[in-house]
């Protein structure tokens, strides 16, 4: 593990959903598949705390406009900056890039009061897509998920079937769902169960 910043990232470690190794699907009623979902394995995740002097560095490093408004996220390609609180953000990046991003932020941020923490393995990101995605999520979440109330670009931290999640609406029919790594197998199974009536495909 020496020299993290220059060595090629090692992806031999298990992901949060490594225990669910095979892809599964079920579509008892036939027709179009309602939900296609899978883990965004090894997605880089950084927690950023701080209030002042962050915008320039975050913009330069991620390409995203900063700060995002409350309950929203900003995107630039594969990189996202999600609002988590008045002085807290979640940075998402391509797998293996998180160390590089963390180093750049440390060297570029001029404020003396900030923290960048690598939480890549603490959280599990799932990609959800399909015409039934909102109906499935609404089964376990108290948020108003109608496309007019939770449009693309909006995010929220809430509960999904009692587990703490961050939801990001990427499009009308596409979400990124982030949960605790320890809850990931539960969330995966809950999603498979909740989407059964619409037909689902889980991609391992």
């Amino acid at each position: 593990m020496a020299n993290l910043s220059s060595s090629k990232p090692d992806f031999s470690g298990q992901t949060a959903l490594a225990g669910i190794a095979s892809s599964t699907s079920a579509n008892p009623d036939g027709g179009a598949i309602g939900l296609v979902f899978g883990e965004m394995a090894h997605l880089g995740k950084l927690n950023l705390r701080g209030q002042n002097g962050l915008a320039k560095a975050v913009k330069a490093v991620t390409g995203c406009t900063f700060p995002p408004k409350a309950n929203r996220f900003q995107s630039a390609g594969d990189r996202h900056v999600v609002w988590l609180g008045p002085d807290e953000y979640l940075l998402l990046c391509e797998a293996g890039k998180e160390q590089e991003l963390q180093d750049s932020l440390h060297s570029m941020i001029t404020s003396s009061h900030f923290a960048v923490t690598d939480v890549s393995d603490s959280l599990c990101a799932l990609s959800l897509r399909g015409p039934a995605v909102r109906a499935v999520l609404a089964k376990g979440c108290g948020l108003d998920l109608h496309p007019t109330q939770f449009a693309a670009g909006q995010s929220a931290q809430s509960l999904l079937a009692l587990s703490a999640v961050t939801l990001m609406a990427v499009a009308d029919d596409a979400f990124i769902l982030i949960c605790r790594t320890s809850f990931a197998p539960y969330v995966q199974r809950w999603l498979a169960d909740a989407s059964l009536e619409y037909g689902y495909q889980y991609i391992a």
Binding site: N71, G85, P86, G142, Q157, S158, L159
Partner: protein, 122 residues
Amino acid sequence: MLIITCPFCGPRDEVEFACGGEAHIARPLADHKISDADFADYLFMRDNPKGLFLERWRHSAGCRRWFNVARDTVSNEIVEIYPMGSLPVKTAAKTTYKTSWRRDTAAEKAATPSRSKAGGSK
């Protein structure tokens, strides 16, 4: 189910929040000597009123930030939501703060820095 308006995230379901109990309980400072009985007012004694109550709440499943809520324990009406470290401004909530038995306790008086010490810094 209550809908509570988080000052940062907006209106959300009560299940996303955790109640932290009575607000405005100041810890007696170490350089004030008070009796164990007086310290117990700070440490153990909690109000349980029928009516308006000033409480701390945390948006535990959301932004995880603390804030104060003035809530009526009979009707569940939320009269005011205001930041940590500040006092309510709505008349009813202000009165609740001012008339609390806690304002007269030795523990609360001992939570204010003594004048001689405060005067020395500037």
